[in-house]
Symmetry: C2
Subunit: 139 residues, 2 copies
């Protein structure tokens, strides 16, 4: 049980929080929207309010447990913060998300930021494209 993680983040270990954390853990490869999490919980027979999902996800983000992405398409998606930064490739057709990291890119980013007098906090690199060989509906 992750009560510890929550406590450490200064959050009471309530049932809704534990459940949301559990959904995120179970789908760590996916990137879920608040509604996705909500539906997953309902389907699992759990009772929860959508507002709670939003509140908890926002708190998790503030606590550094979760990362919020603003990919194309209005809604935010969330993933557990593994601690290791990574970038994303999003298929514009099937919405599948791949993750990657590249040391060379990271290094250049730091240098560029410094050149512009910036101290980088977070950064997000998202490649939008089209699958050519995966299970993408369009091949």
């Amino acid at each position: 049980m992750d009560s510890g993680e929550l406590r450490k983040a200064g959050l009471k270990a309530t049932l809704p929080r534990l459940r949301i954390l559990s959904i995120l853990e179970k789908n760590n490869d996916l990137h879920l929207s608040a509604e996705d999490v909500y539906k997953a919980l309902l389907e699992a027979g759990e009772e929860i309010g959508l507002a709670t999902v939003y509140r908890v996800l926002t708190q998790f983000e503030g606590a550094g447990l979760v990362i919020r992405h603003n990919f194309e398409g209005g809604r935010s998606v969330f993933e557990l913060d593994s601690g290791e930064h990574h970038d994303h490739i999003v298929c514009l057709e099937c919405s599948k998300v791949f993750e990657f990291t590249d040391a060379a890119i990271e290094a250049r980013q730091q240098r560029i930021a410094a050149q512009h007098g910036f101290r980088i906090g977070e950064h997000s690199l998202v490649l939008y494209g089209h699958c050519t060989k995966t299970a993408c509906p369009n091949r």
Copy 2:
């Protein structure tokens, strides 16, 4: 007058469209939201509806005249598409935006996408950070 540009994009050269284009040109260094454009036009004494601004910006995006960004914070911002791709650095404190390009990063992005069986359409690299020497309110 940019009637030509519009015509070329298959769009009638109407007054609202010309005005919006003009606002974007005048603020090419900024990244404006639909509401920003709307307000700018109202302040300039022009009559226009917010819905029209949204419609026109979306059409411009489709026509490749404009690029839409989903930076942090729910709303979309727009900038004229200069034709030359570039990345962004956004100050989390003063919201100032700097642009840059880096050939090495671009090259690696292509390679990485290819490795994952992706054909890249668009991509967006945004560094979120803090100014250290510009006119940022927090220095």
